[in-house]
Symmetry: C2
C-alpha cells in the first residue's frame, strides 16, 4: 500500500454500500487499493429504514471520501450495493438475467453530490423467473472474483449468501440463502440465545458437529427439525454452553452448503470458489471440505476489484497507463 500522504497513482474511488455499513476504496493502477475507509453508514443507518434521504447519503459520502476529493477533485467515483436501491441515493433499476457484468454499454445510475462530484451507481441483478432473486453489490464482487472464461459457480457468504453461476462475465443464475441473518436472529432473539455463553475462540469441534448434523438433517427433518438441538443438547448436559454458538454456525452454514451441493451445484462439485472476509471464508471452507468438496478457493478483495473493472468496462477510467490527477507527477 502506498504512503497515505502521497498516493501518486489514484485512479478511482469505489464505494461498496451495504445494508449495515459502507466501505470506500481509493484505487490505483489495476485496482490496487491505495487507501480504504469503513463507516457504519449502511442503508439502514442512513435512512433509518424509511424513505430515501439524499442529504444523508451525501453526508456519509463526504465523511468517507471528502479528504480524497479535497486532494483530487476530479477523481471518478463508482458505487455498488444499496446506494442504488429504491431507498438508496439514486435508484439504479435491476438488470435482468442473463447479464454481462463487463458490458461496455452497462448503464449506471448517476447522482451529483453536493460538492459536484458525479457518482456512478452500478445496478443490481434480478432473475425474472421463479422466486425473483435480487442482488445489489454482489454482482460487482462476481466480476471482481475474476473466475475467467467458461462456466463457474461461486458462493458469496454473508448475511444473505449468494450462489451464482457465470459463463465468463455473464451471470446466468443465482440463488440466495438467508444464512447469516438466520444465525443472527437465532443467537440474538430466539430461545436458543439463553443457553449461549461466549467462547474465547472458535470452537471448531462444535462447528463440525453442527455441520454433520446439518448434513444428516438434509435427508431427514431438515434444518427446521434440527435447530432445537441447540437447546436440548446443552439443556441435557450433552453440550457445553460455550459450544452452542459455533454449533449453530455449523448447523446453518452446513445446511446452506449441503443444500446447494444437492440442489444447485452442477457436475461433480470438486472445487468451490468463495468470496467473503477471511473469518467467514474459513468457516465455509472448513464445512465445504467436510461435506465433500476437494478444493476451496478463497477470493479476496472481490468488491474493490469489481468496482475498478466495472469502471474500466464502461470507460469511466481509461485503460492503462493510468489517468493522472492534480499534484501527481506522471
Amino acid at each position: 500500500m502506498a504512503d497515505s500522504n502521497a498516493p501518486a497513482e489514484a485512479d478511482l474511488i469505489g464505494l461498496d454500500w451495504g445494508t449495515s455499513s459502507c466501505r470506500a476504496y481509493l484505487l490505483g493502477a489495476e485496482g490496487v487499493i491505495l487507501a480504504q475507509a469503513r463507516a457504519p453508514f449502511g442503508l439502514m443507518a442512513v435512512n433509518a429504514g424509511h424513505a430515501a434521504d439524499p442529504a444523508a447519503f451525501d453526508h456519509a459520502f463526504e465523511e468517507l471520501c471528502g479528504r480524497w476529493l479535497d486532494a483530487w477533485p476530479d477523481l471518478p467515483v463508482i458505487a455498488c450495493g444499496m446506494a442504488g436501491s429504491r431507498q438508496g441515493w439514486v435508484e439504479a433499476p435491476y438488470r435482468v438475467l442473463p447479464a454481462d457484468l463487463a458490458d461496455p454499454a452497462l448503464a449506471c445510475a448517476r447522482v451529483r453530490s453536493r460538492r459536484g462530484t458525479e457518482v456512478y451507481v452500478i445496478p443490481g441483478l434480478t432473475d425474472p423467473h421463479g422466486l425473483r432473486g435480487v442482488m445489489r453489490g454482489e454482482e460487482t464482487q462476481l466480476l471482481g472474483a475474476n473466475l475467467g472464461a467458461g462456466e463457474h459457480e461461486i458462493v458469496l457468504p454473508g448475511t444473505h449468501s449468494k450462489w451464482a453461476r457465470l459463463q465468463g462475465t455473464v451471470v446466468t443464475a443465482f440463488t440466495t440463502f438467508m444464512t447469516g441473518e438466520l444465525y443472527a436472529l437465532l443467537t440474538r432473539h430466539s430461545i436458543l440465545a439463553t443457553l449461549i455463553r461466549p467462547a474465547p475462540e472458535p470452537q471448531w469441534a462444535a462447528f463440525d458437529r453442527g455441520v454433520d448434523v446439518a448434513a444428516e438433517a438434509i435427508t431427514g427433518t431438515g434444518l427446521l427439525g434440527a435447530l432445537f438441538s441447540a437447546r436440548t443438547l446443552p439443556l441435557t448436559g450433552a453440550m457445553d454452553e460455550t459450544d452452542v454458538a459455533d454449533y449453530l454456525s455449523g448447523l446453518v452454514i452446513g445446511t446452506e452448503l449441503a443444500s446447494a451441493r444437492k440442489a444447485w451445484v452442477l457436475g461433480p462439485a470438486d472445487q468451490l470458489w468463495s468470496a467473503a472476509d477471511p473469518e467467514l471464508s474459513a468457516r465455509y471452507a472448513r464445512a465445504a471440505i467436510r461435506l465433500g468438496w476437494r478444493t476451496v478457493h478463497a477470493v479476496e478483495n472481490a468488491a474493490p476489484r469489481g468496482l475498478w473493472w466495472t469502471a474500466r468496462a464502461i470507460g469511466l477510467i481509461g485503460a492503462p497507463p493510468a489517468q493522472t490527477f492534480p499534484g501527481v507527477v506522471s
Copy 2:
C-alpha cells in the same frame, strides 16, 4: 359450562404453564372445564429469564387460582409445562423414552404454595438418543388427545411444534420443529419484516403459495434457500405486501409438514392428528391436505383433558363418582 358462581362438581385445578403464558382450568367430572383463566405469567415473565423464584410462581398461582381455592381449599392441583423446568417452580426431572403417560407410578414433583396447597408437577419427557429431544407440557396434551390403542402419530403445532409417536399411552419417539418461533423471528426481527403490511384477515391464497414453494424447496435448496423470496417477491412487484405474512406462514408450516411427511411419518400418512388452538389448527389442516394427507383430525382441549387424566392415573383424584367439595350438594 356450569354457572361460574356455582361450579358444583369441581374435581381438580389444572395448570398448563407455558413459556409465554399460563392457563388455569377448574375441572369437573370426566375433565369437563367448569371455568378457566389465562395470564401472561409464562416462565419468561415470571423469572425474567433468570433463576427460579418460587415467590413469583406463588404470586402467579394466587392470581389465577386464588378465588377457586378460597371456595374449595382442598381442591387438588396438578400442573404441567415449564413450572417443572430447572428455572421453574420445582424441578421435575425428565422421564426417559419410552414413557407411559398413564403409568400409575408416574412420579410428579411437588411444591407447597404459600397458602399450603400441594401442587403436583408432571415431569416432561426426553429422548436420550441423537439430538436429545425434550418436551414439557406436550406430554400431557398427548395423553389428553386420547388417540386410543395401537400406534399413532400426532402433531402439536406451536412455537416449538412436536411430532410424537405413541403406542397406546406410551410415547416411543418425538421430534421438534422450531416453526412458530422462526415465524415470529422472521416477521418481527428480520429484514423480511420491513415489507410486511398487516392484512385484515388471513390471505389464504398467499398461504397456499407459501406451502407450494415449501414443498418444492424440500427437494431443492430447502427453507434456507426459499425464505428470501418473502423479500424478493414483494420487492419486484410479484406479491402484495399484505400477502407476505401469510406467505411466510405457509412457507414455514409447509416446510414442517413436508419434512415430517418425508422423513418422520410412518406408512402412508393418510390421517393426521393435530392439537392446537383453532386458528393454528386450521392452518395446519389446510397445508396438510394440500401436501397429500387425506384427513386431518383436530383435537381440542388436549391440555385440560390430559391434566385431568394424569391426575386420575396417579390417584390424585378418584375414579367417578366425582369427589365432592364444600358447598356442593352431592
